[in-house]
Symmetry: C2
Subunit: 316 residues, 2 copies
Amino acid sequence: MEFFNKVGKMAIGSRLRMLTETMVEDAVRIYKLYDIDFQPKWFPVFYVLQDGGEFTITSIAREIGHSHPSVSKIIAEMVKNGFVIEKKDKADGRRNMVSLSAKGIEVGKKIQDQYADVTNAVEELLAQANHDLWKAIEEWEYLLEQKSLLRRVQAHQKIRESNKVHIVPYEPKYARAFKALNEEWISKYFVMEDADYKALDNADSYIINNGHILVALYNNEPVGVCALLKMDDPDYDYELAKMAVSPKAQGKNIGFLLGQAIIEKAKALGSHKLYLESNTILKPAISLYHKLGFVKVAGRPSPYERANIQMELELK
Amino acid sequence: MEFFNKVGKMAIGSRLRMLTETMVEDAVRIYKLYDIDFQPKWFPVFYVLQDGGEFTITSIAREIGHSHPSVSKIIAEMVKNGFVIEKKDKADGRRNMVSLSAKGIEVGKKIQDQYADVTNAVEELLAQANHDLWKAIEEWEYLLEQKSLLRRVQAHQKIRESNKVHIVPYEPKYARAFKALNEEWISKYFVMEDADYKALDNADSYIINNGHILVALYNNEPVGVCALLKMDDPDYDYELAKMAVSPKAQGKNIGFLLGQAIIEKAKALGSHKLYLESNTILKPAISLYHKLGFVKVAGRPSPYERANIQMELELK
DNA sequence: ACTAATTATGTAACTGATTACACAAATGTA
DNA sequence: TACATTTGTGTAATCAGTTACATAATTAGT
């Protein structure tokens, strides 16, 4: 498979499928070798039934990891070939109890030899290879169960995207973005208050009052902002406020990067403890603050109606 | 996948298929993640076309290892979505030359990021596992190309079957089998000659004349015979003759086992060089004799019309 | 130069799995 | 006890590939 080495790991799915196919293709011929009128796809079901008891369709499906319609069809085929018998459960009218027929048990004996030969052939193959396919499959099953391929790719996407994000200090040309990005979420979840207009229309005053604003750029477009306000309070020196990220730029870790940068800035300004106000309706925001290290504190008076949670972060 | 550890290696095909499925399932969602209106199954074809040139359906199929109808369908879908364009080849009216459209090239650029993220995710997975799935697949592809699973299973079947075969010395109760087994092949390919009747009706005389007969039993049924005749010749002391294996017992290595046993017997009798006559029409027999070590020698007079090849084996 | 063989492509039917949906029986709950 | 939920099963549609077959164009062999 020359091609796969060229394409690379992205095609591992296709490559797996093709390997599967070459093996399954031979399976049919292997059964013929033993003069058994048996389809390879029946095998997992057959294997379960060989225990001897009666099983329901769904219990077999669960056991072998197939969907129940798949088992349903396989059972229908095996019944038609006389290998299994169905019987309605008297106690539970939904259940279709299936078990091996006399003919099925007979075939089971014949299959033993084949089973041994195939197992030996596979073991031999495994022994000839340096990399253990069987164990590798098992590991991948486990790893993918822990964290799906989708989520793994998503994580890498996030890392890559966040590399394209640059955090820069506020400049007057970002005044419009500073207002627009904040207005967007405020008016989506709440209503703009007087304090909002006062703050968003006078970004410069923050800086004048020893505060700070940071802007997140993505492809040189401002897509996120965050402000640091000097507070006149015995407990806190700075407040983190006016954090906003464009919904169009979600999933690039921008909130976290902005938050980290503003915390660094606060440290540089000599802050010992940060304060912020928010609303519990904004779940992603709250969880972002948690991730940044903020913890909830008891209520304080706020100029904003919408504030229903207060948080702080001790800086060392 | 608890089940697979119980069933064992015989189900490696099913297990592979299920792993493939969980990965391919995610593939669709991964493409969605990048806002690309693209189907995963198009990828191999797309990858080939990205080289920039024009390709025929069959050349793509060969390159990616699919059947041509598969590529034909994929191309049809991609044309419908505007990713590729078709063009009849002027020089060869059969050829359908396909290449990426402007839109296709555009998507190719978008896909680069995804390509990188997926590759990284897979590499990460590979790094987390102790057993390298990628390399294991590659090895299996190679090993199965060298010798298919079918042939490997067949080999193990043969070994197991030949363990059920027992070679025993001639007894009078095998007289009928000795004649019948030989008559079967002689009258199938040639006609019974006088010398045949004389020999087959008087098996005992071989033994009287310091010769020997061995019988192969399978499930205690005589299924093969072979005789050693004392020769009155300056060059040879014994002749291997009347070798016969029932067609019903083929593929169990019986001919080889009989041959080996008779050679051992000859050595025990003090023979230095064995001789045999056969006919080139009996290909499996000739190749068996080769496998046993016999080499062709120049013609000698024979009492049998059908003999057209002579062979000998030096014993050490 | 003509016929046979080969090559390129497309269509149809099949395969072994899936998801979506329908429906009946059993179980849980107010 | 009635009604909602859960469970067990089957049918239909779908999916990504396959093989089998049909057809047209080219190439090879006599």
